[in-house]
Amino acid sequence: MWNWLRRRRDADKVDRAASLASRPVRNRLVEWQETPDGIITLHVPLRQMRQSQGKFFAKLFPPAAVRQVTLDEIGSEIWRRCDGEHSATDLLDWMRQRWQFSYKEAEIGMTGYLRTLAKRSLIVFVGPAAKPGREEPPKGLP
């Protein structure tokens, strides 16, 4: 039983090279707008409560349909690059060049930020595409 669980867990692991090659893509349901100074505000649609769940309370306190999230300057620039064209490595290189971060600084900052976005379903990661004659993409990626 434990061995089976361990094998399942190992199969789901993504190695570092594969995760760095993956490309973050924005959730299409999330709308965003930009201020003239480049700061981005996300409008995240919230799941609506079913009528039966809280009809009474919903009438009293109408739930918000959209949650707004304002990103900071670096976060906004990363969000703009989450277009499926740039891999995590591209983002790291850009951060190091643009903000003079050391590799580790950029890696910790960016992976933490992307993980937060992914947890909140604002982005998803797409694995490297398999091309004819090239090796298969690593297992574990969507």
Binding site: R16, A17, L20, D72, E73, I74, T89, L92, W99, Q100, F101, S102, Y103, K104, E105, A106, E107, I108, G109, M110, G112
Partner: protein, 316 residues
């Protein structure tokens, strides 16, 4: 070694490593500890050190290392897994005085080179282990690391070099690192010196973003710890090699400050004299700040350290 290198410096250790290798784990103190350096994809170097006063410290540690290479497979024992061909080799023809080292190479899932170094001058035994992808072992790289390896400064009272995450500075040998914090955009190292001296080095970035909302002076005044009050009139401003440098030398007065300095009340930073310097380094896009707290102002001002923020040294 063809790729660019830098001098890694941590807890009196100094050696050259390729530029992409940066610390991913740091723990322990001067007497014993562990450091791990990674490149973009994998762990590349491990450093483990401890105190030993034995004459044969190198041989004992070497035997222990070889024993540890053989590990039982799985938690419940089973067949022992021996890395293929562990073989002792010689990479350094002549070690510095007081230092002795033994090197072994091995292959398993990855290839590795490990050297056990014992130094009779600082009584530290160090295991330095470098990993290579299978079939890509570079003895030249390990040789370069070992040839530049130093585990104590030449002059016992001279400056000690520190270098990691593009932070490069020299601090007096008698200062001990007591705490550190490294994060994206913020790094802090806290030292403790003799006679109640406390010294902090802090770095923020990117300066371009921080200074968009406030000017350097306002930012600087907001960085002092709770209880340490510095006013605008106390700050002197100068230009050093094109960078704006702000400095404060303060000497708290009053009964409480006197009692604190004399140790009657728990020593806190707010009772001590302060010598602080902060500057903006546009080339590195960083803000730097060095604070030295001591019972007397001359002692705080004698805290001699040099920070190389972008090649040039800025003194505190």
């Amino acid at each position: 070694m063809t790729e660019p290198t830098y001098q890694f410096g941590w807890r009196r250790f100094q050696f050259e490593v390729p530029e992409p290798w940066e610390p991913s784990h740091l723990e322990g103190d001067d007497a014993g500890g562990y450091a791990r350096l990674d490149d973009a994809l994998r762990t590349r170097l491990e450093l483990k050190w401890s105190r030993s006063y034995a004459d044969d410290a190198c041989d004992v540690a070497f035997r222990r290392y070889l024993k540890q290479l053989v590990r039982p497979y799985g938690k419940r024992g089973g067949a022992a897994v021996m890395p293929h061909e562990p073989k002792e080799i010689s990479l350094v023809s002549r070690w510095p005085d007081g230092m002795r080292g033994r090197t072994v190479r091995w292959s398993a899932e990855v290839d590795g080179l490990a050297t056990i170094i014992a130094c009779s001058r600082c009584n530290r035994v160090t295991a330095i282990q470098v990993f290579f992808p299978p079939g890509e072992m570079q003895t030249g790289l390990m040789r370069r690391i070992l040839e530049t390896f130093r585990d104590h400064p030449e002059d016992p009272d001279g400056p000690v070099g520190w270098s990691l995450y593009r932070m490069r500075f020299q601090a007096p040998a008698r200062w001990r690192l007591v705490a550190h914090r490294f994060g994206p955009g913020y790094a802090e190292m806290n030292f403790r010196g003799p006679d109640g001296l406390l010294a902090d080095l802090r770095r923020w970035g990117p300066a371009e973003i921080i200074l968009k909302k406030q000017n350097l002076l306002d930012w600087y005044l907001a960085q002092f710890p709770k209880g340490v009050t510095v006013e605008k009139k106390d700050v002197t401003q100068a230009e050093v090699r094109g960078d704006v440098v702000l400095a404060v030398a303060s000497e708290p007065r009053g009964l409480l400050a006197i009692l604190r300095r004399r140790g009657r009340v728990e020593v806190a930073k707010q009772g001590l004299c302060l010598q602080s310097v902060a500057w903006h380094c546009p080339a590195g896009n960083r803000l730097w700040m060095t604070d030295v707290y001591a019972p007397t102002l001359p002692a705080a001002q004698a805290g001699d350290w040099k920070v190389f923020c972008h090649g040039e040294a800025q003194g505190a």
